[in-house]
């Protein structure tokens, strides 16, 4: 099912949580609503489910206007952040409960619940109570319960935030698998860019109630529309250098260094931010270079070694090549790759 | 561990009642005799004018002498007798209280009350009338454990305006009363003619007037299951059935129903007169049985026994003082109670007092009798009240009497 929202706005008193938000969620896709806390992503999800009424705008499921339809008639399955599994019911009863509400005969709903349990791999835990399950198992049960009504739309609210790091990796693969097996249009809310990047067909990035950019994960990373998008995605975070365009070169604010640029849109004298992803810098001890820097500090993250470098009085973070050893205080030469280097307007944050 | 805690907790909760009786007594010990003066305590629940009078009398007494010092301790009214009982038994109770003879009876078996005849001055003992003395020595051991210093009792109150309207007067006999009630009923069908404020006293009155007694303490014989008593009860039952009498109170006392005009007359405490708002007339209790009899509620001094001659003698000394006619009269005034001693009644103070209390003249003191001061009193009172309720409720009179006797016998057997 395709979900279309038009000019969706939500105000709580004077506070605007979601502002004039329009977009399409394609049929059968897994889409992440991504953004920092308070960006309006959960509000959007709750408006889609019908838990929250909209202030203005429209929501369409395919061609049906469901803006004012109560939650139970929308055909959505919701998986809450803390799972909201009923503690007094067994796994089987929890999964079957939505059908119990619909007064589906007992035999039938239990059969269906077993089927769902099998799909999410909890079929050996049917008689357990929620408190006897691990976080990941609870998550699976919650998904099964959300899916048992064969919803047109599956909504997951921060599905992985209550899990530890290892389970998070496992569960995000599971969500992907279950979504693909069922083919249900799925929207999930997260503040974790890595989570969104790794399993989604599409990411919708929001900030302060406004849509920033919606795209395939890689596109979002490779081609950010603005500084916020560039900053939000990527680990380690993108490096930002502040400066101006002078004679076709990027010159640091204090003039202590300059970098050759190749961007026809850059206007002379314009104040800009240069965004450089850590992996877009190559480092060497000699040879041609775009600019120079001094190693300030080194640290290791997993198998990779990174360093903070001083360029003039600003700092960037880059991967060190394993070909050489570098000492703190050593002068090094840097080259920029084509990919992963962006210029943004300092005032608006828009991409140049 | 959890189980143990739970168990302990449950134990604690359940036995808190028993705990109160086991170790709850926090009374200050009355203190042993100092080198010179013997300290004697009196516990009381009096307030206002009564407390003032008592404390002044004590101060005067203490000033008058150098051997004994009396100390008054004011106690809360609720649970007073229970507290006294615990404290006396634990050996740290008061030397004296002012209470009913029945209270003293509780201590007789344990030998915890003093035989006053051994300690009081002969003049003091001589103050008592024959009937008062009979009550003071009516205990199981035949000793004298109380010196009654004030009295009270029930009298007949009627709605003056109503009785005048119907041309009625205070009844001399029960038959007169029933005739009065019938006249009231004829005119005002919703009104009840009469009620007993205390069913127990009502029963006792009806029984004693037949010439029968309640109980023989020496033989544990119950004496009131007789045809004469049954006839009296039948009279009461018929009057209730005809709507002439009632036994259903709206509040704690029938004075409220009297004020509201629900009943035309009742028998209640003479001390209740100040609570009546309707204009009332008074009379003595109706008679008509084999003997003339009315209940008396005497209160007096009780001295507890701690096997300490000095303290007992000291307490008796104070009683000698407090029983003197003038001082006793002042106490009667402070309490608004009639006197028991003829000598007191002769004082000017008392005469002036009685002149302002018409109700006392209807107490019929020469025919007044008290409830026997025996431990079985508790059962007898319960049995009498049940008897009256059952009879009023329409139970066969003889069955009700048999049940009352059976109840007392059962309790006695359990002693």
């Amino acid at each position: 099912m395709q979900v279309r929202i038009e000019h969706l706005t939500k105000k709580f008193g004077d506070a605007v949580a979601v502002s004039d938000f329009s977009m399409n969620f394609d049929d059968g896709k897994l889409v992440a609503l991504l953004g920092p806390s308070g960006c309006g992503k959960s509000t959007t999800l709750n408006m889609l489910s019908g838990i929250l009424p909209v202030t203005s705008g429209k929501i369409y499921f395919d061609d049906d206007d469901v803006t004012n339809t109560p939650p139970q008639d929308r055909g959505v399955g919701i998986c809450f952040q803390n799972y909201a599994l009923y503690p007094h019911m067994s796994v089987l009863e929890n999964i079957a409960f939505p059908l119990e509400i619909k007064k589906v005969p007992k035999e039938e709903r239990l059969a269906k619940a077993r089927e769902m349990a099998k799909l999410v791999h909890v079929d050996m835990l049917l008689d357990r109570k929620p408190k006897e399950l691990s976080g990941g198992q609870q998550q699976r049960v919650a998904i099964a319960r959300a899916l048992i009504k064969t919803p047109r739309l599956l909504l997951l609210d921060e599905p992985l935030s209550n899990l530890d790091a290892r389970l998070r990796l496992e569960m995000r693969e599971e969500i992907r698998r279950i979504q693909q097996e069922t083919g249900v249009t799925t929207i999930f809310v997260t503040h974790d860019q890595e989570e969104a990047m790794s399993i989604c067909d599409k990411i919708v990035l929001m900030k302060d109630g406004y849509l920033q950019q919606e795209d395939k994960p890689q596109t979002l990373y490779d081609d950010p529309h603005n500084l916020f998008v560039a900053n939000f995605l990527g680990n380690p975070p993108i490096n930002n250098l502040y400066g101006t365009i002078q004679n076709g070169r990027f010159v640091l604010e204090d003039g202590s260094a300059s970098i050759k640029i190749d961007n026809p849109n850059a206007k002379e004298g314009e104040k800009v931010v240069m965004g450089i992803r850590a992996e877009s810098v190559t480092i060497s001890k000699s040879g041609d270079h775009d600019f120079e820097a001094v190693i300030k500090q080194r640290y290791t993250m997993g198998k990779e070694e990174l360093a903070f470098l001083n360029i003039g009085n600003q700092v960037i973070r880059v991967y060190l090549s394993s070909d050489y050893t570098y000492d703190v205080g050593e002068k090094v030469f840097l080259n920029l790759r084509q990919k992963g280097v962006f210029l943004f307007d300092q005032e608006t944050g828009e991409r140049i | 561990m959890k189980k143990i805690i739970t168990t302990l907790l449950a134990l604690f909760v359940v036995l808190s009642l028993a705990a109160c009786s086991g170790s709850g007594s926090s009374a200050v010990p009355s203190g042993d005799a100092p080198a010179e003066k013997t300290t004697v305590t009196i516990w009381h629940t009096y307030t206002d004018a009564q407390q003032e009078y008592l404390e002044k009398a004590i101060a005067d007494f203490n000033a008058s002498q150098d051997e004994v010092e009396v100390v008054a301790e004011s106690q809360p009214y609720d649970g007073f007798t229970d507290k006294v009982y615990q404290a006396v038994m634990a050996g740290n109770g008061p030397d004296m209280i002012i209470h009913y003879a029945s209270e003293a009876a509780k201590y007789v078996a344990d030998n915890k009350v003093v035989d006053l005849s051994k300690y009081l001055a002969p003049e003091t003992v001589a103050l008592m009338s024959a009937s008062t003395k009979e009550e003071a020595t009516s205990f199981a051991d035949g000793q004298m454990h109380i010196l009654p210093i004030v009295s009270s009792g029930p009298i007949f109150f009627y709605n003056k305006a109503l009785y005048e309207e119907l041309g009625l007067s205070a009844p001399a006999t029960w038959a007169d009363l029933i005739a009065n009630c019938e006249a009231v009923k004829a005119k005002y069908p919703d009104m009840f003619g009469f009620a007993f404020d205390s069913e127990t006293d009502g029963a006792q009155t009806l029984i004693m007037q037949t010439g029968n007694k309640l109980f023989n303490a020496a033989t544990n014989e119950i004496l009131f299951n007789t045809p004469e008593v049954a006839a009296q009860m039948q009279m009461y039952q018929d009057a209730i059935a005809k709507g002439l009498f009632t036994n259903a109170k709206s509040g704690n006392y029938f004075s409220e129903d009297f004020n509201s005009g629900r009943i035309a007359a009742y028998i209640g405490s003479a001390a209740g007169a100040p609570y009546l708002e309707t204009e009332y007339g008074m009379g003595a209790l109706p008679q008509g049985g084999a003997v003339e009899w009315v209940p008396a509620w005497n209160r007096g001094m009780i001295v507890f026994n701690y096997d300490d001659e000095a303290r007992a003698a000291g307490a008796a000394k104070f009683i000698d003082y407090f029983a003197q006619p003038e001082i006793n009269a002042g106490w009667c005034v402070a309490c608004n109670y009639p006197a028991t001693f003829a000598a007191t009644m002769e004082t000017e103070t008392y005469k002036n007092f009685v002149a302002g209390n018409e109700s006392f003249s209807y107490l019929n003191a020469e025919h007044a009798g008290a409830f026997p001061a025996v431990t079985a009193q508790a059962y007898i009172r319960t049995a009498l009240q049940t008897l009256m309720s059952s009879v009023a409720g329409g139970q066969d009179v003889q069955t009700a009497l048999d049940e009352a006797v059976a109840y007392i016998q059962e309790e006695l057997a359990n002693e």
Partner: protein, 306 residues
């Protein structure tokens, strides 16, 4: 060795030495004096025959127990107490669940309702009992008036007819329920407020109506609290005494002994009849009854511990 000693002095190790014992001592002494000693005393007293407060007794044995268990009044007290407990506790619990649920909604004039429901808690049950006595009055009581409106009654709540007083017990049951409600409601209300609203949202999104939510979610999630209140209320109800006092001027019912409860019996036996051994034995019997029911309930409660 020296090092270890020094460390101790610095207060690093809390489990050793006399220090904790000293801290605990005041509490332990209090417990021994006010709890343990009276309990032991009552147990001992219950085996002493002819015991008097002066300390004398005539023998040791089970006579107190055989007397109490053979006493018609005690049998009556046990019967009344059981009728009271097993009508007041369940009815009050059901009412309290319903009322607490209503109070948990957002309704107007909530403060008024809350005051009304919590009134019994801040007033003395004996004082309030006196005004209830007027309400139960046969002729002008508001309760009979209400019954009259529906064409029933009048019922002689407080009186006796023909040596029987069948309605007396309903008086204390009704009064007992009213008395029990506020405390129960407060506990249940806090229990309700501890239920994560997420469960309601989840059920509502799936289309559950309020009846379904109440039955399948609210009540089951409230069950642990319900059991807690039932245990507390049952223990206090077995000790029913104050509820009897106001209606018959301190007597136990219209016939003055028909409405004996166990605590009333114990009090009466102790203070009026001065049979201390009997009273102690009756206390132990009461304790055992409460103990058995509390354990039974705890055992049932375990099955509902989520």
């Amino acid at each position: 060795m020296t090092a270890k000693k020094k460390k101790k002095r610095e207060g690093g190790e809390f489990n050793n030495g006399l220090e904790p014992v000293i801290y605990l001592l005041p509490f332990v002494i209090g417990l021994l004096i006010f709890t343990v000693y009276p309990i032991i005393n009552v147990v001992l007293m219950s085996f002493k025959e002819g015991y008097r407060l002066s300390g004398s007794f005539t023998g040791i044995g089970l006579k107190n127990y055989t007397q109490v268990l053979g006493d018609k009044n005690f049998a009556n007290a046990v019967r009344n107490t059981f009728i009271y407990v097993f009508s007041v506790v369940p009815i009050a619990t059901v009412l309290a669940v319903i009322i607490a649920n209503l109070l948990n909604q957002k309704i107007k004039a909530m403060a008024l309702f809350q005051t009304a429901y919590f009134l019994p808690m801040v007033t003395s049950s004996i004082a309030v009992g006196l005004s209830w006595r007027y309400m139960f009055n046969t002729q002008f009581g508001v309760i009979n008036w209400l019954l009259g409106v529906f064409g029933a009654g009048p019922i002689d709540w407080l009186g006796a007819t023909g040596g029987q007083a069948p309605y007396n017990i309903f008086v204390i049951i009704i009064f007992g329920i009213w008395n029990m409600l506020p405390f129960t409601i407060i506990l249940l209300l806090s229990g309700l407020q501890n239920i994560d609203p997420m469960y309601y949202t989840a059920a509502k999104v799936d289309g559950a109506d309020s009846g379904m939510i109440f039955r399948r979610i609210t009540v089951p999630l409230l069950l642990p609290t319900i059991f807690l209140t039932m245990i507390i209320n049952m223990i206090s109800s077995f000790k029913v005494y104050n509820e009897v006092i106001p209606f018959w001027s301190g007597k136990a019912g219209a016939l003055s002994n028909n409405l004996y409860t166990m605590v009333y019996y114990i009090k009466e036996t102790f203070y009026s009849k001065l049979r201390l051994g009997n009273a102690a034995a009756a206390s132990i019997v009461l304790f055992l009854i409460i103990f058995v029911f509390t354990m039974l309930q705890k055992w049932v409660q375990k099955k509902f511990d989520y």
